[in-house]
Amino acid sequence: MNIVLLAGLRTSLARLVATGLAVALSVGFVVATLTLSTTFTRTTEQTLTANMSHADVRITPTVAMVATSDPRTSTDVLTDVLPRVLALDQVAGADVERLALVELRSGSTRSAAQVATVLDESVRWQQLSAGVWPATVAEATLDQTAVSALGLTLGDILSIAPASTGVGAINVTIVGITSPDSAGVGTGAPTLLMLPAVLDNPVYFPVSTGVLVAGDNIAAADLVGAVSAAVAGSPGIVVQTAAQAVDYQTGELSGSGTILTSILLAFAAVALFVASMVISNTFQVLVAQRTREFALLRCIGASTAQVRGLILGEAFVLGAVASAAGVALGIVGAGALAALSRTDSSTLHLGELVTDPLQLALGMAIGMSLTLLSALSPAHRATRVRPVAALRAVEAPRTATSFVLRAIVAAALIAVGGYTLVGGATRSGLGLAVAAGVISFVGVLLASTLLIPWIVRVAGLLIAWTSVPARLASLNASRNPGRTASTAAALLVGVTLVTMMVVGVTSVRTSVNDKIDEKRPVDLTVQTDDPAGFTATMVGQIAALPGVEESAVITAGRLGLSADGVAEFQLPARGVVPEEARAVARSAPTVAAAGEIVLNPSNARGLTDGTGVTVRGSGGERMLTARFDPAAQPGQVVVTAEDLLVVVASPTTTQVQLRLSDTASGAEVQLISSGIMSLGEDLVVGGGAPERTYYAQILDVMLLIVLALLTIAVVIAVVGVANTLALSVLERRRESGLLRALGLTRGQLRGMLAVEAALIALVAAGCGVVLGIVYAWAGLSAVALQANKLSLSVHLPWDQLGIILGGTLVAGVLASVIPARQATRKSPVNALSGR
């Protein structure tokens, strides 16, 4: 039987390449995820160990304390305990580690950086590769990586400003360069070391992260006892030996790493699932094509177990080879990502790649069992081939399915899953919705075997009239319903998930934007502390800044309001130009028409809606009509700028409102803000744009990462399409020969395969997009339900949905290229004779 197995492998090797690729890709994903996770933990450990290379004991604030401490108001416990620790006889030296985030400016470059304090020599772990340690507050060291990235040398001058405000920059001279090992974990940002005095300025929001203590000829454990006794009574700190501290912090940091790993592994599971569909489909087709061969083997005395063993043997070899390739692929991929993380633009610097043999073995085992399990059902089918089949000509075999059973199970799963999904989405919440979503999707996948061939047939009818190749393609696509369905189903999984994510994120983004627009209708507001208000020149300068699309000016004055039977009372007034205000605002702003005064009903004081109000200011008096608006801000009234000018002698311009481009990024908003602030010392910038760009950026990055991860599943599915097509081409070799003999050109043959692939891809993509939208709706409703008061509505990003459909179509057509080359390479006579 081994000879048969080897011979079979040799002949079907080409047919298994694509399947092997699917296995390798998914195994590679798993291995890369595990390896990167381990590398992250090891890097963390190494960095922390390096940080404590001279310390024996570390005093660490508990996490909660860091989170709640406001450095400006709360007293810094660590700084407080330092003198007590230093007073101990057993202590050779100790110092507090403090850190602040700053904006670093070098020439025209601005980047985020951190300033850490130069530690006392006894515990200082950083090492200089050039220069000296800073001696004054105007000196600093910078790490080697940043020095080369910014193109600096010793003696160059930089300026730094607090990251929170960006104002009050100071100049510092680079006097030393620290070696790259001192970069620290979790950040690839340039690190400056400066004297502690610099960070005593509260504008920097310095954070104390720990106290390093070096002992004087004393065991670390004993030193812990001594230090603990000295700091007893100070809340929110723990005293640990250096080794304990490393373990503790590694645990803290890789805890978040574990969550990340789990999320990544969930995506890997999707890739594995899709791969298993591709594998199963391939073996299904191979078994169908080799019916005669199996029958012959049975005729000459092979048992069913031997036939089963033949298929499983092939699967075993395929699984082993492809998984090994996948492990290699995963290590190479993880290595590439780790190398990428060491470049300047990354915010996370990973150390040397750590490959754990156990994890590699796990990846290998997953790949092999995936392949074997996926081959089980086709192997079982092979055993049902009866010996007599060898003796008669076999028509193109049809995949037999227990139709009724499958239909019932599918319908039941969809019904239960769908009902529960709606319940989860509208009443119960996220947990139920996710479970129901998975159940109903399994149902959909089962049903797809029954439904997709029908949809393909209908779609085929729509194009069949265009040309003969199109008609043949549409007939071919629905020829092996099972095969077409499982090919499409693999693609369906990917497209559904991609659509769900795209629709979900777009909806959240739009809903958040709407909310921000409603609460903060103006992108940027500029106010001044100067009592005289803005000068016209200044308003002009602000409005002329690049990136500003519209601007509106708010004038202000004090008004006395009175009416028949209502004593005069004073309220501040805002004068707006209605057209300007509407052009600037992203949601309907409170504006007054000419001759109108708008006020919140809470400020009525006896005035009635729609009646006349006598308005008196420093410059005169006028009769205006009151309009109550619950949306108006309480405690002030709104009139037109023109009306305000009539009653108030010289209203001051107190606010300038700006509308920015819809596509402005966070960096652009930042640039405009600093541009405004450079116009005058007393200007204050606010508004909704920073918030909006902040959320948009987070959501965009999230979407990008998720899509990148899902792409692997889609790529595997497209490999599956190419695979199915290639197998069908082999099977229809004689038919292709006949068609060529009858006058089908090579181009038409290629076109026929492209149309077949496009049909399958388009049907899968279409169904996937519809399903994805349904699941996105369910997910959004469930999330909205879970997070009370958050209203999320579904927004369909038509352009992105178009890209999904178009992209899948193109991928499908591309998948037909290689099989088509195979099909057209054969001369018709070779194909006909089966040579």
């Binding site: 028509e395 003969v468 038919e735 068609l739 003999a741 009858l742 006058g743 050109t745 090579r746 006909l832």
Partner: protein
């Protein structure tokens, strides 16, 4: 070329070799033969004599090593693949031993396939006449697996006839049929030649099938080994025996038509 006007298909010094050097196999070792219009010719010879190769080269299905092939006065050995494909669908009809029909298409669609591929209009009267002649009127909507072997082969004959090709090549058309169905198909081919003026070149190893032809061309070891006009089963059998015994170095007894 004036003489060739009379011929639907002809080959001049046709050679076809597989492999190279000492191990080369010469399937056709310089064959010159011509088939007049309106003739029902049979090509015979023992296994490995090159009869199938000759047909495939004549039909433009396979490339030749040297020599020329003419179909309807067109030198097809000089044509590109695209031009050859066009010529096949316009001027050549095929009937194969098996796997004659596209399984996904109905009988009618199969018949019209070459015309559809060429985007030519269907001559309704001609279609009706062919369908009537071949007795397929009630089978048009059936798919190949719903037809008997004889019916499938009749559909193939109909497909070949419909485009009114210069020549129909039939490769062992009765090879997979029982004798009744075989007789039926051969009678149809005979009718196509006698009544419709169609040219048919049939490759066969069956003396009974060959006896339906106007002329039998014998091949042995890739060379012409004689020919027989108005063959009968007996004359074919004796000629075959002769051809098998004949040594390839002996001068061929053929006379140029």
């Amino acid at each position: 070329m004036s003489e060739s006007q009379r011929f639907a298909a002809s080959a001049v010094e046709l050679r076809k070799s597989y492999g190279a050097g000492d191990s080369a196999v010469h399937a056709l070792a310089g064959v010159t033969v011509a088939f007049p219009r309106g003739e029902f010719a049979a090509v015979m010879g023992p296994s490995g004599s090159g009869k199938s190769t000759l047909m495939q080269c004549l039909a433009g299905l396979d490339s030749v090593s040297s020599g020329q092939v003419y179909i309807d006065d067109v030198r097809i050995t000089a044509l590109s693949d695209r031009a050859l494909t066009k010529l096949r669908r316009d001027r050549v009809g095929f009937v194969f031993q098996s796997f004659n029909l596209v399984p996904t298409l109905t009988a009618r669609q199969n018949m019209l396939l070459p015309l559809s591929l060429a985007r030519h209009r269907v001559d309704r009267a001609w279609l009706d006449q062919v369908v009537q002649t071949l007795g397929l009127a009630d089978r048009l909507k059936h798919r190949p697996h719903e037809l008997s072997g004889g019916q499938q082969q009749r559909v193939a004959v109909a497909r070949a006839l419909l485009s009114r090709p210069a020549v129909i090549f039939a490769d062992e058309p009765t090879g997979n049929l029982d004798s009744a169905a075989g007789t039926e198909v051969l009678t149809l081919l005979r009718q196509a030649v006698s009544q419709l003026g169609q040219t048919v070149i049939m490759v066969t190893h069956d003396p009974v099938a060959a006896s339906y032809a106007d002329r039998v061309v014998m091949l042995a070891d890739g060379e012409l080994a004689g020919e027989l006009a108005n063959p009968t089963v007996e004359s074919v059998l004796s000629a075959l025996a002769q051809a098998s015994a004949a040594s390839p170095v002996q001068p061929a007894t053929s006379s140029r038509p």
